[in-house]
Each structure stands twice: as structure tokens, then as C-alpha cells.
């Protein structure tokens, strides 16, 4: 028996049962394609989320009140109000001697309130920020100006509008110089921002910006910051700056050595990592679900091979009569199922990539920046799993076939 003979035997058998062969392959194709598709779309979605976060800037550091685990979110991110971060901390951060790499820092507070303009009222979110927010958030003022640090310090009642909010509050234009009433307190509009586009988590174009201290004292009646953001001069200085910030704040908060910090300092890079972890888990989860269809494909192979064994009892008997040994029969059926699985795997990879590509053509038309990504791992997993599925699920039918006694087989009607 030549090396190629078992393959020749198996292929001739498959050729003799084309429809069954095609349908079984189809089952594997769907399973593998589902795995490829899910892994590809997961990778693309991850890239989308990460790119949106990166838009915020990779040289930003967030300072959040409350302690947190290394990779978990701080308490404030869960909606728990923590009041440990104060305006004094912000001022100290801005002093060059404390954090030499820091170029801008802003505190953030936010709330929502009924805002009236020219007799109409809207429920609107507002944010109290420092003038440094312009540089931190890459804001662009399209009309007028942003407010000054002095205006923040003397609690000026001035406001800057996000582009969408300006259109809504002043549909006929003329926002600049008009008066807004927030919580019955009049604010003068000094500027309108250019549109920035929504990011994953919020739409800054809908906000009303007021000076930080004004928001704290006049609108919210608080003396703490929801959080602060600092811009660092260079990405390579982020770690050093974060350390400086932590040292400064620990000192200001009178924390002893070994005592847990009552604030958290986070970089965008860390946020990316956390988000990356979350989307990874999601992708694995979806892949596991898609793998179920591969399993079903495998059971399809077993089913089809068992039918084949039953249909071909006479054939097996004949093969044994002319000298086939049990292992020849076993090999033949195993090669058949491995071939079904291998072909299904290859076609499934191609089909999955095709659908992922189509998705990458369609999704951008819905307004998302969608990259076409096919992880190499997904192709390897798809092929490896389908081949082993073919082997494992082919084993039992092949073994059954090899056990058929030659004479039983020839007698079988």
C-alpha cells in the first residue's frame, strides 16, 4: 500500500457521495466562519473603542478622588461621591516646582439644570472647568473667546456653549453676548465652541461650560472637584509626572507612609489597557459562543460519517473481502472526515474573512471608523479546531466501520 493510497481511497468515496459531502462541509464552514467573523469584528470593535479614547490624547493624566485598585475603576467612577480632591490641590498642581512636566490642569465638576434663553427652557448638562480645559480637551473656539483664569477666580457668571447646544438654545444665531439663565442665575455667553464630534462616552458639543469656581459655589454649592485632568508636556514624561502628582497630593493630604492614597492618578494609557481588557473578555466570550457552532458542525460530521458507515456496510465488507485490514478501513473513514473538516475549515476561513470585509465596507457608512482586522490567531484557531473536530468526531464512526466483520457486511441488505 502506497502512502497516497489511503487518500486516493477516501477521495473516491467522497466523490461517490457528493451531496452528503457538501452538506457536511457546509456545517463546518458555518462554524469556522462564525468564529473568524466574531474574532475579526471583536478586534475591529476594540480598535474602534481604543482609537476613540486615544483621540482624547495620550499625554493626559486624570486625577480622581478616592483610592482604587491598580486596574479597577476608582469609587468616583461608580458614582460614589468622594470629596477628597479640592481646588487647592489643583492650584498646587499648576505650580511649576511641584510638577515640572505639567503644562495645563483643570478641575471638573458637572451637573444638569434647567437653562432658559429667550423665554424657552431646556434641561441641559453643564460643566465647570478651568480655562486650561481648552488645551487639555483640544477645544476650538469658533466665536468669541473662552473664559479667563481671573473670571474663574472672581466667580464671573460667564458661559461658553458647545456647538450643538448653541444651535439649540439660539436657533436664530446671535448667541454671543446673550444671556442664559441657569438655575435662575443669569450668565453671559462669551464664546461658542467649534463642533468636536461625539466620542464613545459623551457628547461635548451638548455641554454648557462655566468657570469651575462659579459652578462649584454658585450652581452646585460644593467645594470639591469631581475630578481633574492634567496635560503633560511629553508622553515620555507621563510616569514621572504621575509620580510627582501623587507625591504632591499625598503630602498635601497629610498621608503617612504606608497609608492608602485618597485619590487615584491615571493615565490615558492605563485607561486604554482597562478598556482593552474589557473588550478582550467580550471577544473571548463571543468566540466561545461561536465555537458552539463549530461543535455542532463536528456533530454534523459524526452524524454524516455514521450514516456513511451504515450506507456502506456492503462496501466495507467488499473492501475487507479483497484484503483491507481494519486499520485500512479506519484510516479511510478518518481521512474522509478530516478532509470534510479541513475543506470546511478552509472555506469557513475564507467565508468569515469575506463577511468581515463586507462589514468593514458597510459599517463606515454608518459613521464609524471601522478597520478591517482579521487576527491571525482567529484563522489558526478556526483551522486547528475544525481539523481536530473532524478527527475527534470521525474517530467513532471510523472505529465502528473497522469493526464490521467482512461477511456481515456482504450479507447486509
Amino acid at each position: 500500500m502506497k502512502f497516497s493510497d489511503p487518500i486516493k481511497i477516501a477521495l473516491r468515496s467522497l466523490r461517490a457521495a457528493k451531496l452528503r459531502f457538501f452538506l457536511t462541509v457546509l456545517g463546518v464552514v458555518i462554524g469556522v466562519a462564525a468564529v473568524i467573523l466574531v474574532m475579526s469584528i471583536g478586534a475591529s470593535a476594540q480598535a474602534l473603542i481604543l482609537s476613540q479614547v486615544e483621540k482624547v490624547g495620550s499625554n493626559l493624566v486624570g486625577i480622581l478622588p478616592g483610592a482604587s485598585e491598580e486596574n479597577g475603576p476608582p469609587a468616583s467612577a461608580m458614582g460614589i461621591v468622594t470629596t477628597t480632591l479640592k481646588n487647592g490641590d489643583l492650584k498646587a498642581l499648576r505650580q511649576k516646582a511641584n510638577v515640572p512636566d505639567l503644562v495645563a490642569a483643570s478641575g471638573y465638576v458637572s451637573g444638569s439644570a434647567v437653562v432658559e434663553s429667550s423665554g424657552e427652557s431646556f434641561v441641559t448638562s453643564y460643566q465647570g472647568v478651568s480655562p486650561d480645559a481648552v488645551s487639555i480637551e483640544n477645544m476650538e473656539v469658533s466665536e468669541g473667546r473662552f473664559f479667563f483664569l481671573e473670571e474663574e477666580e472672581d466667580l464671573s457668571r460667564v458661559a461658553v456653549l458647545g456647538s450643538t447646544r448653541a444651535d439649540e438654545l439660539f436657533p436664530n444665531g446671535g448667541a454671543l453676548g446673550s444671556t442664559l439663565v441657569i438655575k435662575d442665575i443669569p450668565f453671559r455667553v462669551v464664546g461658542v465652541l467649534a463642533a468636536r464630534g461625539s466620542s464613545t462616552f459623551s457628547n461635548p458639543d451638548n455641554l454648557v461650560y462655566v468657570p469651575l469656581a462659579t459652578a462649584q459655589k454658585t450652581l452646585l454649592g460644593i467645594d470639591y472637584l469631581n475630578f481633574a485632568r492634567a496635560k503633560i508636556d511629553d508622553t515620555s514624561h507621563i510616569d514621572r509626572a504621575m509620580e510627582d502628582i501623587a507625591t504632591l497630593l499625598r503630602d498635601r493630604h497629610d498621608l503617612e507612609d504606608g497609608e492608602e492614597s485618597d485619590f487615584s492618578v491615571r493615565s490615558t494609557a492605563q485607561a486604554l489597557e482597562v478598556l482593552g481588557n474589557v473588550t478582550n473578555v467580550l471577544t473571548y466570550f463571543l468566540t466561545a459562543i461561536a465555537s458552539i457552532s463549530l461543535l455542532v458542525g463536528g456533530i454534523g460530521i459524526m452524524n454524516s460519517m455514521l450514516i456513511a458507515v451504515n450506507q456502506r456496510i456492503r462496501e466495507v465488507g467488499l473492501r475487507k473481502a479483497v484484503g483491507a485490514r481494519p486499520r485500512h478501513i479506519m484510516t479511510q473513514f478518518l481521512i474522509e472526515s478530516a478532509f470534510i473538516a479541513g475543506l470546511g475549515g478552509a472555506a469557513g476561513v475564507a467565508f468569515g474573512i469575506l463577511v468581515a470585509y463586507l462589514a468593514s465596507v458597510i459599517i463606515p457608512r454608518l459613521g464609524y471608523e471601522w478597520e478591517f482586522i482579521v487576527p491571525v490567531s482567529s484563522v489558526l484557531i478556526g483551522l486547528a479546531v475544525s481539523l481536530s473536530v473532524g478527527f475527534v468526531f470521525g474517530l467513532f464512526p471510523a472505529w465502528r466501520a473497522s469493526r464490521i466483520p467482512p461477511i456481515e457486511a456482504l450479507r447486509y441488505e
Binding site: D5, K8, A321, R325, P326, P406, L410
Partner: protein
């Protein structure tokens, strides 16, 4: 030394608790180059006897020496090897692989030959030539008539150059003309020195052999040479 020598063979089947004795105390021998017809009515045990002689089935007791080797002591793999190289089968129902070409059907035993050194397409061609089926080599088995199918089956039985050809009711599914052709080929094989063992229930068919073993109720009840042997010639003799 006889090619086939059996002594006190017996075989019992058990089917859903019912034991049926199919063969008992069967003893005889066949020399190389003989043409033996095993004859008997259906249910007499003749097919079972052929299956045991053809190493498709094991007897429950007795001894079977094939060319001096005790077949009852051989492993399944060794039996498969002997079937492959020393035995050719022709079945009543042809048992060709469906949707497979004539050539590929004939090649089948060669694919299971553990020692393929002398194998080549020439052997397939020679076997098809011997049964006059060269012109149908590329046809699929389903495209052939019954007589052609049986000739292909004979070519398959010949391709490994076996010592013995077993034919189990080879004419049973054929019209008399085709049956005659098949008998003619078997006689030619025997004339060329091959041992042929034919199983049939038809006297006319059996009379193409040189010796008839009569089987009834699982025993050998007669063993005599054919005195007035029929020679199959195209169009001269009918089988039925």
C-alpha cells in the same frame, strides 16, 4: 499437499437466542488446478462453506489448511493479507463500488496490497483484457449491464493474480447469455491453471466444473467428478 484441506468443519449461528447449526463434520480437500462446484439447495450451508474457505469467516471447530497453513490460527490481519494476495472473489450481486469507474473498481485489491512493488496500471489493464472489458475502463460501474458488471468483478478478482477464485452464484443475477460468458471466463481461468471454486444451486451451471461437491443440511452428501462436462462456448449452450 492439497491446496485446500478441511477436516470436521462446523459452524453454528446464534440469532436472537436461537442457535442454528449450518455446517457439521465437513471434510474434503481440493488440489491445485481443480474446478470444484459446491452445489446444494438454498439454506444447505454451501455459501457459509465458501465464506469459510474464502477466509471471510471462521469455523467454530475443525481445521482448515490452506496451502499447508492452518487458517484457524491466523490473525484477522493475516487473513486479510491472504484474501488480498491469494484469493479472488466473485459475488452474485457483483459488489462493485458505486459511482466509481471500472478501472478504479479493478484496482481496489491493489490498493490494499501491503507490498506494492510489482503493482502498476498494467495489471489493471491485463485483468480487464482477460475479461474483455478494456473498452469500458473509464465507464462508471452504474453504466454497465449485469453481465459487464460481473466481468468487471472477475477482473477485480484476478488483478492480484490469486491462486484461488471463489465464485458465489456468479450467474444468479444474469441472463443466460451473460451467464454463459461468465462461465466461459471461469473455465478459461481454470484452463490457465487457477483453482476455481464455484457455489451454485443450478445443476447446469455446476456441470461446467470438473468436480461437484453436493451439500445438504450442512453436510457433504456427494463428491464426484463431472463425467459429461459442459464447455461454455458463445451461443452454443444455454444455462437455463
Amino acid at each position: 499437499m492439497p491446496l485446500i484441506s478441511v477436516k470436521d468443519l462446523c459452524k453454528t449461528y446464534e440469532n436472537e437466542g436461537v442457535r442454528t447449526s449450518v455446517l457439521h463434520d465437513v471434510s474434503f480437500s481440493v488440489e491445485k488446478g481443480e474446478f470444484v462446484a459446491i452445489m446444494g439447495p438454498s439454506g444447505s450451508g454451501k455459501s457459509t462453506l465458501m465464506h469459510i474457505l474464502g477466509l471471510l469467516e471462521r469455523s467454530d471447530c475443525g481445521t482448515y489448511l490452506l496451502d499447508g497453513r492452518n487458517a484457524t490460527e491466523l490473525s484477522d490481519d493475516e487473513l486479510a493479507g491472504l484474501r488480498n494476495r491469494r484469493i479472488g472473489f466473485v459475488f452474485q450481486a457483483f459488489n462493485l463500488l458505486p459511482k466509481t469507474t471500472v478501472e478504479e473498481n479493478v484496482e481496489l485489491p491493489l490498493l490494499y496490497d501491503e507490498d506494492p512493488t510489482e503493482r502498476n496500471g498494467k495489471r489493471v489493464a491485463a485483468a480487464l483484457e482477460a475479461v474483455g472489458m478494456t473498452h469500458r475502463a473509464k465507464y462508471f460501474s452504474g453504466q454497465l449491464s449485469g453481465g459487464e458488471k460481473q466481468r468487471v468483478a472477475i477482473a477485480r478478482a484476478l488483478v492480484n493474480d490469486p491462486d484461488i477464485v471463489f465464485a458465489d452464484e456468479p450467474t444468479g443475477n444474469l441472463d443466460s447469455k451473460s451467464g454463459l460468458q461468465v462461465m466461459k471466463i471461469l473455465q478459461q481461468l481454470n484452463d490457465a491453471g487457477r483453482t476455481v471454486i464455484l457455489v451454485t444451486h443450478e445443476t447446469l451451471t455446476a456441470e461446467h466444473a470438473k468436480r461437484i461437491l453436493r451439500v445438504a443440511d450442512g453436510r457433504i452428501v456427494g463428491d464426484e467428478p463431472v463425467t459429461n462436462r459442459r464447455i461454455a462456448r458463445d451461443g452454443e449452450v444455454t444455462l437455463k
